[in-house]
């Protein structure tokens, strides 16, 4: 008798002690909340190039559901060339977009009108940004905290009905349930009775390991009682909803219903239907065993049991439960959960690493608003995998990378680190010789020197360069045929090695290296003559930075992946606004870019150009390293710069040039993006002169090989010819008379 009292007293004291201990830990500790990373919100306005189909796929990516009644935010309907959307709205640190009803009409691949709910034209609206991932620690937990107001009441009720019927009444442990569970488990068959209360499960998940032993069970029970002592039921339920393990996404452990809703359905918890809530509740019992992606039949069967139990508990009508039981699992397809988005997340981490400690990114509940464009990313991913597949069977292990930026703002819209999400981020980490991609820096240096114009004649003939160590370097043209005297524009357009080496040695390696630095190259290249032909290993992202400066007319904007960071208090911690510097003489860059247009029209970029619509002006450059180990292409329109690289990870020769490999991938990217021509206006200091592309002689505009070159107006007067290069005197005379007669 007294022994029993002592035992009871000791238990009570122990519970009291645990309660105090838990309190200090539970009150003080919060969940580690990995930073949530969001794409750029899609801007909708009249005049935007966006087809109805593309908008619908964007809506699907965001988990919007088609419902003709538009019953709640996160739904849309399509009718008669119109798309009508009940948007979700968002609020990031005062940047607010209200939820609203909008209606869009389309014509010629563009949004033709945007109307608000009142039928009046609206100027602009935004969709909520796509959650693209979290900066979670390696093998870490990830969660998306939901507040009580964001939790469907049906979810809590269903959890109680399925997991812990006496939740409202027990004090942490449910002895009756334990006994019943022991009995039911013996006689097996129907839905397995869980012995643990929700509180016990919470304790297990939050405080304890998953070891199965009697001492742990006992400890768990005591702690559950202690927890109940200190906190009320509603708080415990909300903690449970945010804590519990619900699935595995590669390295990432998916915790809580908020993240699980995104992980399985791509939608916020508040928008889930009955059958989806039931599935999440079904998964609680065994996220691996009932993994709906791996074991859909198992998960479906248990979901329907949950629905039946919900009906039995009068949470829903039998009819609703039956209707929900007939629905599919409706999971977010894995293809829409792009594994390759992790490549962009790596860039986000890198940009933030300069300002934030890793532990803050992984724990402090930050929101990171990025420049990521899911539509452009999808295009780039398809271009890389489709482009490599089209190269044939011998391209089996071939891999690559694509970077897409907006040149005027320096925002990185898409980043593909490889064909599969194998963890090697080639866009950031594959440092490979860039070959002829370096040539624009050589020619820009020449143009800026004032001693060369696009019409200057270069000598494409063999050259022996004596190196410092006494060796002699004898470069060749790609096809081994020196062209002799050629105009500068042709030497660049056709990527002639000998002319480039001679030009580079004349303007000097040092100024070229300095120019590379101004264009955005962080490392200082070694000043070997072979640098002139691209014996310089860079990552696709570094190449993108250099070419972005060219595409931006000589203005360098550091490439950005992050627009701003919002703290857990909802205030902006940091805004990464655009910083712009003039890196080169705009007139020289304009002239250089006209040469890069000729690369596409007449030079090594022709094959890539053929994939694009006629009339689209693009500028670009091929790059090929020794023995065809690396195939590069970089080029731009007015709105997009894209850099593509392909090669083998083990550096084997690919058999591809920049044109036959990466150029095709680049063409797929630019062809699929709604691109406007590269159309920078000519600077006043240059005047347009028609010159024969092959010989550099003045030429009439009508001639076959005539190209319009922007040349310094202040230079020597340019001879104007009525004839074409190589034409007989008589033919010129006839043209002269004909044009005169008009």
């Amino acid at each position: 008798m007294s022994a029993l009292a002592l035992c009871a007293f000791a238990s009570l004291a122990y519970v009291g002690f645990l309660s105090w201990q838990i309190g200090t830990e539970f009150d003080g500790r919060r969940w580690d909340l990995p930073a949530k990373v969001y794409a750029a919100p899609l801007e909708l306005y009249a005049g935007r190039a966006l087809a109805a189909d593309d908008l619908v796929s964007e809506l699907k990516r965001l988990g919007y559901r088609e419902d003709p009644r538009l019953p709640q935010p996160g739904t849309y309907r399509v009718a008669l060339q119109r798309v009508e959307i009940a948007t979700r709205g968002f609020d990031f640190a005062g940047d607010t977009e209200p939820p609203q009803l909008i209606s869009l009409a389309f014509a010629n691949g563009k949004i033709s009108t945007l109307r608000g709910v009142d039928g009046a034209d609206a100027a602009i609206a935004r969709l909520d940004p796509l959650l693209i991932g979290s900066l979670f620690p390696l093998h870490g937990e990830d969660r998306l905290i939901v507040e009580p107001g964001e939790t469907p009441p049906l979810l809590s009720a269903a959890l109680i009905a399925i997991e812990d019927r006496r939740f409202a009444d027990h004090h942490g442990v449910d002895l009756r349930a334990m006994l019943r569970a022991a009995f039911v488990n013996l006689s097996a068959g129907e839905i397995k009775q869980g012995a643990s209360t929700l509180t016990q499960q919470l304790v297990r998940s939050y405080f304890l390991s998953n070891e199965r032993s009697w001492t742990r069970k006992l400890h768990e029970a005591f702690m559950a009682v202690a927890l109940e002592w200190r906190y009320d039921k509603a708080d415990l339920m909300q903690a449970y909803i945010n804590e519990i393990y619900l699935g595995q996404d590669g390295d990432r452990a998916v915790h809580g219903f908020g993240l699980a809703s995104q992980f399985y359905f791509g939608r916020p918890l508040t928008e889930l239907d009955l059958h989806e809530i039931a599935l999440l509740v079904a998964i609680v019992r065994g996220p691996t065993y009932y993994d709906p992606r791996r074991h859909p039949d198992r998960a479906l069967a248990r979901r329907n049991l949950v629905l039946q139990e919900m009906a039995d508990a009068k949470l829903v009508s039998a009819a609703d439960a039956e209707k929900a039981g007939k629905r599919k699992l409706d999971l977010l397809s894995t293809s829409r959960r792009s594994a390759t988005q992790s490549a962009f997340l790596a860039l986000v981490r890198r940009q933030l690493a300069t300002d934030y400690a890793t532990k803050d990114l992984e724990r402090a509940g930050l929101k990171v608003l990025t420049t990521f464009d899911p539509g452009v990313q999808a295009v780039a991913e398809r271009a890389l995998s489709g482009g490599i597949a089209a190269l044939g069977a011998n391209a089996k292990d071939l891999d690559g990378a694509v970077v897409v930026t907006s040149p005027h703002t320096g925002e990185v819209n898409a980043l593909v680190g490889g064909r599969s999400g194998d963890g090697f981020n080639r866009a950031l980490d594959a440092r490979r010789p860039i070959g002829s991609l370096i040539k624009p820096a050589v020619y820009l240096t020449a143009l800026e020197s004032g001693r060369y114009t696009l019409a200057s004649m270069l000598d494409d003939s063999p050259i022996d360069v004596k190196l410092d160590n006494g060796d002699v370097w004898s470069p060749h043209d790609y096809d081994g045929e020196p062209r002799g005297e050629v105009p500068l524009i042709r030497a660049l357009a056709e990527s002639l090695n000998l002319a480039t080496v001679r030009l580079g040695l004349d303007v000097g390696l040092e100024p070229i290296a300095k120019n590379l630095g101004r264009l955005g190259l962080a490392q200082k290249p070694k000043l070997y003559p072979s640098m002139l032909l691209g014996a310089l290993a860079l990552t696709p992202l570094e190449v993108a930075q250099i070419y972005n400066t060219l595409a931006n007319g000589g203005f360098r904007v550091p490439l950005r992946a992050v627009r701003s960071v919002v703290g857990e208090d909802g205030k902006v911690l940091q805004r990464y606004s655009m910083k712009i510097e003039q890196a080169a003489d705009p007139a020289s860059v304009y002239a250089l870019n006209q040469a890069l247009v000729q690369v596409m029209e007449r030079g090594t970029g022709r094959t890539a150009r053929q994939q694009l619509p006629a009339g689209l002006t693009v500028a670009g450059k091929t790059g090929t390293s020794d023995d065809l180990r690396d195939s590069w292409f970089a080029g731009f329109t007015n709105e997009h710069l894209a850099v593509a690289w392909i090669g083998y990870d083990d550096d084997r020769p690919t058999g591809l040039t920049g044109a036959t490999g990466a150029g095709k991938i680049w063409g797929r990217v630019v062809g699929a993006l709604e691109a406007g021509s590269y159309n920078a206006p000519a600077p006043d200091s240059l005047e347009t002169v028609w010159v024969d592309y092959l010989t550099g002689e003045p030429s009439a505009a009508r001639c076959e090989d005539a190209v319009a070159l922007p040349l310094p107006a202040a230079g020597a007067p340019h001879r104007l010819l009525e004839g074409c290069a190589g034409e007989s005197f008589g033919a010129r005379l006839r043209h002269w008379f004909r044009s005169d007669a008009q």
Binding site: A13, W20, Y231, A239
Partner: protein, 177 residues
């Protein structure tokens, strides 16, 4: 609120448990370990535990667009927004331009430039938007950035004489010429 931290429940503590706690308090005192907050001694109602929070974060939005921002007391000097004829940008960029100017007049330069950056993503070749961004940078004290933005605008202005004049004016104001 991003976190749902557990709030303590004071109302559910029956007297028997309070007794145990008193005992525990004694125990704890022996080891000089002091529980920071104990339910028995806490008299604050659980629900109202949070102190009145600082104003909600989205209070001073610039989206008003009605040109009636609260006058900042002794704040930044008021900015004369140059009257510019409507450019050829779409209705979207005009709307954002108006929003940006309202923010600038209210002295919210960060908001103003973020809004102009939105417009620039839509119409990156519009020199007027680059001038606008430059004016914001100048107003917020970064003359070097303003001058560069003016030069950038000049490369895009071409035959738009108004834009050229605006960009040159900005360049002079920024000390670039």
């Amino acid at each position: 609120m991003i976190h749902t931290s557990l709030r303590r429940a004071t109302s559910r503590t029956p007297p028997a448990r309070a007794l145990t706690l008193a005992l525990l308090a004694a125990l704890a005192a022996c080891t000089t370990l002091q529980g920071p907050q104990r339910p028995a001694t806490s008299s604050r109602p659980s629900g109202a535990g949070a102190p009145p929070a600082a104003e909600s974060p989205n209070a001073p939005a610039a989206g008003a667009g009605n040109g009636a921002p609260g006058a900042p007391e002794s704040g930044p000097p008021s900015i004369a927004v140059p009257a510019r004829p409507p450019s050829e940008t779409s209705g979207a960029t005009q709307a954002l331009l108006a929003q940006s100017r309202a923010a600038r007049e209210a002295g919210s330069y960060a908001q103003a430039s973020a809004t102009i950056e939105r417009a620039l993503r839509i119409a990156p070749s519009d020199p007027n938007l680059w001038v606008e961004l430059g004016e914001i940078e100048l107003a917020s004290g970064d003359a070097a950035q303003a001058a560069t933005l003016a030069r950038k605008a000049l490369t895009l202005a071409a035959n738009d004489s108004v834009a050229v004049a605006d960009a040159q004016k900005l360049l002079r104001a920024a000390g670039g010429h």
